[in-house]
């Protein structure tokens, strides 16, 4: 099956949050009404509550040279045979990574995954070209 991603470098910049839970919901939500974030500029730690539980968050950077992308299928596939097209509906260079009660550390799965992308860039990169590859776009 062929999957195409329609690039759109002008896609809206998004403020992303990665929560330490799975939410059975795809669609709009009243984030601005309920997800109240307080940030400590000195330590860079954010605090918020979700469903009564205390979350602590840090700002995680998408590895340099890459952008995070929100992919959306604007025309749903009718059969499982046809080629699929995803649009870049939004992009981000950083996101807030949340953990229960204590801020995520460098050992958090997500932080290690982001690190793996940098490792891959070095492993597969050319010595003459220290820039990480631009072709792959991680989807968080």
């Amino acid at each position: 099956m062929e999957i195409t991603v329609e690039h759109n470098t002008r896609a809206a910049q998004l403020a992303m949050h990665s929560l330490p839970c799975s939410i059975d919901h795809n669609g709009p939500a009243n984030i601005s009404s309920y997800f109240l974030v307080e940030s400590d500029t000195a330590s860079g730690v954010h605090a918020a509550k979700f469903r009564g539980r205390q979350l602590a968050g840090i700002t995680a950077q998408v590895p340099s040279g890459l952008v995070g992308a929100l992919l959306r299928e604007s025309r749903p596939a009718l059969t499982d045979q046809e080629a699929r097209t995803l649009d870049v509906a939004g992009q981000f260079r950083e996101f807030t990574l949340w953990n229960l009660e204590t801020p995520p550390t460098a050992q958090a799965d997500m932080m290690r995954a982001l690190h793996a992308i940098e490792v891959a860039a070095i492993l597969h990169g050319n010595d003459d070209d220290p820039q990480p590859p631009q072709s792959e776009t991680p989807s968080a």
Binding site: A15, A29, V45
Partner: protein, 385 residues
């Protein structure tokens, strides 16, 4: 693994497009969060570090609660209710308010009473109160006409609270207002912290504070939470040299406990009466929450009306109450936490638990991957569902 939620900072257009294609992503518009003032921030960081460092189950704000609101130094009367009504008070944070310590209480051996208000309700703060006066002033105390705050009507409680404030030549008090947000997050912590432990720790922190402020405490009367004997043992161990008397119905037996009970009840009622919702849409949230007890049909109706299917309830609600958990299980979208299932009490929640992952729409067609990638939850997208 986490589910990403992306927030669009501004545009209405993106909400529209999200609504027209809601299938693939959670796409939500949001106001950018404004940085909070410094004191708030300091607390957030401290919470985080302490949670890491603390082996004990004590709530972080009990262990390192902010200093109580200091009484005015210009000689004007201390007014706890006025402080709560002022902009200096933030109802989402646990706060301790203390009256000035009368000079006589620093020298004469004092009796001290402890009681709480708002333990049962599903919303609003739980308030712990202490009051104290010299043991030798017992006759004067008895003349003031205290009784169990629950047996007195509201105007009488308010009058007695005024009397306590006016009796500042020999009586002092302090209250700890535990915010519903702190009750929820304490009880829903990874290391479960139950309401009894919370109550005990709060009571002990108030006694400690009174000692720190120079009150000469000789005898403490406490209305029991849990078994009277174990509570009394716990208190005596923590404060050797002080005589503790823990008993059921202490608030109707000992006037100093009645006084504490009145302080707690009046403050709790006042906090809820003037409750400002911290949610940006707060002004549109109804205030008809009834008496706040889960058994009250008005309270139940308010919870049903003000439930958000993703976020649950406004912060005034104690998410840790069974009533709330059940409404969310029945009507809200399912949320699965990484530590779900560790608590065997949550049978209902576990029964409904699902295992959706961030990659749920991806068919894993690739051969088994190296541990390095599995541990980092890295997968190659080759197919879509």
């Amino acid at each position: 693994m986490s589910t990403p939620m992306d927030i669009d900072e501004t545009s209405q257009a993106s909400i529209q497009s999200a609504a027209s294609s809601p299938r693939r992503s959670t796409r939500i518009s949001s106001r950018a969060s404004t940085p909070a003032p410094a004191p708030v921030l300091a607390r957030a960081t401290r919470d985080a570090t302490e949670a890491v460092n603390q082996a004990s189950n004590t709530a972080d704000w009990v262990a390192a609660a902010p200093r109580p609101v200091q009484p005015p130094t210009d000689g004007s009367a201390f007014d706890a209710l006025a402080h709560i009504s002022s902009s200096a008070y933030n109802n989402s944070r646990t706060a301790t308010l203390a009256s000035p310590v009368p000079d006589v209480c620093r020298t004469a051996p004092c009796c001290l009473g402890i009681d709480e208000a708002g333990r049962g309700p599903v919303l609003g703060p739980m308030v712990y109160g202490i009051s104290y006066c010299p043991l030798s002033d017992d006759p004067r105390l008895r003349q003031m006409g205290f009784d169990d705050s629950k047996k007195l009507d509201e105007p009488t409680r308010r009058r007695l609270f005024d009397d306590i404030n006016k009796a500042n030549d020999f009586m002092g008090f302090s209250v700890c207002v535990i915010s519903p947000q702190d009750i929820s997050s304490s009880m829903l912590r990874r290391a479960k912290y139950n309401l009894n432990a919370l109550s005990h720790d709060t009571a002990m922190s108030l006694v400690q504070r009174a000692l720190d402020d120079g009150v000469n405490i000789a005898k403490v009367f406490v209305d029991t939470v849990g078994t009277a004997e174990t509570y009394q043992e716990k208190l005596s161990e923590r404060f050797p040299g002080i005589e503790f008397k823990v008993s059921a119905k202490a608030d109707s037996l000992f006037p100093i406990v009645s006084a504490a009970s009145i302080c707690a009840k009046v403050v709790r009622d006042h906090v809820l009466d003037i409750w400002q919702f911290s949610e940006p849409h707060g002004s549109t949230i109804g205030r008809d929450f009834g008496c706040g007890y889960p058994s009250d049909p008005v309270t139940k109706q308010w919870l049903q009306t003000n439930m958000d299917s993703v976020f649950g309830f406004p912060g005034v609600v104690r998410f840790s109450w069974g009533t709330c958990k059940n409404i969310l299980i029945d009507r809200a979208v399912n949320v699965t936490w990484e530590d779900d299932g560790e608590d065997e009490d949550d049978e209902r929640a576990n029964a409904k638990k699902s295992n959706h992952s961030i990659l749920e729409f991806v068919k894993p067609t690739a051969p088994k991957r190296h541990r390095y990638f599995i541990e980092r939850k890295l997968e190659i997208v080759q197919d879509l569902r």
